[in-house]
Symmetry: C2
Subunit: 298 residues, 2 copies
């Protein structure tokens, strides 16, 4: 068995860190992630700098990234304006759009209804496909949101199905506030199966806010999921959650996958060394348990 780790540290991680990191540091960070064996590294976002100043250097960063055979650098594209910037950029082969499973979050994050997000995304996906790009769709707030509480799995599956129908090749199911537990993961995957969407088109994206990310990931793996999102060192956080805990740490994930005999191609010690280096720059210790444990011997 092989699992693809979709590394989101440079985008989802750095976007939610309070420190703004210089472009040279980002470049080195991403280069080191690729050296550690990661092959899919979401590098940045073409969101308006007014909203996410941390990623205002997206264009400059992409131009300078090391081109490594077999390594892809997807970029987040919130809307057509973002896509304009992505298509002007050399070498963007993969984009990701960011949808919402709930009305409250759609309103707050997209300033739209759940229904009208599809109108917004349709031309983005169509034009990206016409450029030969691969499009992933995030579905955020798949388990609960801070305003509505628990979200019905069927509602998430409906939203996901519509995004796939636009032409997206993969859905990343996000527990944006990190409250989900294994039974809920199973219910969600059941709802997708009911909607005709199998695990081959799904990725999981857990935040470790309540310590559940790895147990949830294990549950998803047992259900056939083979793409898992995580961030090196567990950096990041969620502006909508009440904790600073970020994404599932890539190191904690790799530790488990190594033990399960699942191939990832990632060297956990090399990765942890990179996270320790970045933690110094971010000015806060990595929340990853593996990074903390290996810190004593690296």
């Amino acid at each position: 068995m092989r699992v693809t780790i979709y590394e989101v540290g440079p985008r989802d991680g750095l976007q939610n860190e309070s420190a703004v990191v210089p472009v040279e540091v980002k470049r080195e960070f991403i280069g080191r992630l690729a050296e550690a064996g990661l092959t899919t590294i979401e590098a940045t976002s073409f969101v308006h700098p007014k909203w996410v100043p941390q990623l205002a250097d997206a264009g400059e960063l992409l131009e300078s990234l090391p081109r490594v055979p077999g390594v892809r650098y997807p970029v987040l594209v919130p809307n057509e304006r973002g896509l304009d910037r992505a298509t002007l950029q050399q070498g963007v082969t993969d984009i990701a759009i960011f949808g919402s499973a709930t009305e409250s979050f759609a309103q707050r994050n997209l300033n739209r209804t759940v229904e009208s997000q599809f109108e917004m995304f349709a031309p983005v996906v169509a034009r990206a496909l016409a450029h030969g790009m691969r499009v992933r769709a995030y579905v955020s707030m798949c388990f609960a949101d801070p305003w509505e509480g628990p979200v019905a799995p069927e509602q998430v599956a409906r939203v996901g199905r519509r995004l796939l129908d636009l032409g997206c090749c993969e859905l990343s199911l996000g527990d944006t506030i990190g409250v989900g537990t294994p039974r809920h993961v199973e219910a969600l995957l059941d709802a997708f199966a009911e909607a005709g969407v199998g695990p081959d088109r799904l990725a999981v994206h857990f935040h470790d806010t309540y310590g559940q990310a790895l147990a949830n990931t294990l549950t998803a793996l047992k259900r056939g999921i083979t793409v898992v999102d995580s961030s090196a060192g567990g950096i990041g956080g969620c502006p909508y959650a009440k904790s600073a805990t970020g994404n599932l740490a890539t190191e904690d994930l790799v530790w488990m996958l190594d033990g399960l005999g699942v191939e990832t191609g990632v060297d956990v010690r090399s990765l942890a060394a990179t996270s320790l280096w970045l933690a110094e720059i971010l000015g806060r210790p990595s929340p990853s348990r593996v990074v903390q444990a290996l810190a004593k011997e690296i």
Copy 2:
């Protein structure tokens, strides 16, 4: 389904914290744990104060604990001398002994071979049973130890089987250095099944050193284990591991069990409030993700 949480914070937790906590604080800590709904709280250890000064007040503490119907306070008893102290004490109904799965740790912790530990424990168990006590046996280093590396599941099952044969009613399988992963958990439970020991006589005891504790626990639950060790707030650590991360945090465990619809009788918010209170006294933040997340709203 119901899971019994075997709370080890006052013993395994406080024994491995550098701060020495006054007996009044311990008493309040244990009282609050019982109020939060925990029914099995390992209160202290009759180890020699020279080795564990943190628990030197064992007798005084036990005398003053609130007697709550349905709440048991097991105590760790390392040897016959410890049992002498336990039998002199009013109201000790449950003891625990602490065995080793590996030669290296048996040598370092017990100053004995694996084989000769049984001679040491035999009279402890026999006398405790004669006093009408219930005896649990910890098996430490069930996954790996720092000197020998990975430990063969069959070796652990052999040690565990011998401890049960002495008259112990339950084994607690400890991943003392926290390196285990789900497949190894399955292999260990398979080895016990081979040795004729089913999940009804086993508990699991994970440390979260590498972030694997909850995923491992989930794996054990799926195999029929219904007794899980954890420490409130994740306090503790292991003097033999390279990290300060302690036991699986009871709050993180309860969060998952609540989501799984598994009854525990424990109120996670009440427990987290207690862990926040204790963290102030210990002078370091709780490593529990749930405690950190709920800290913003408690």
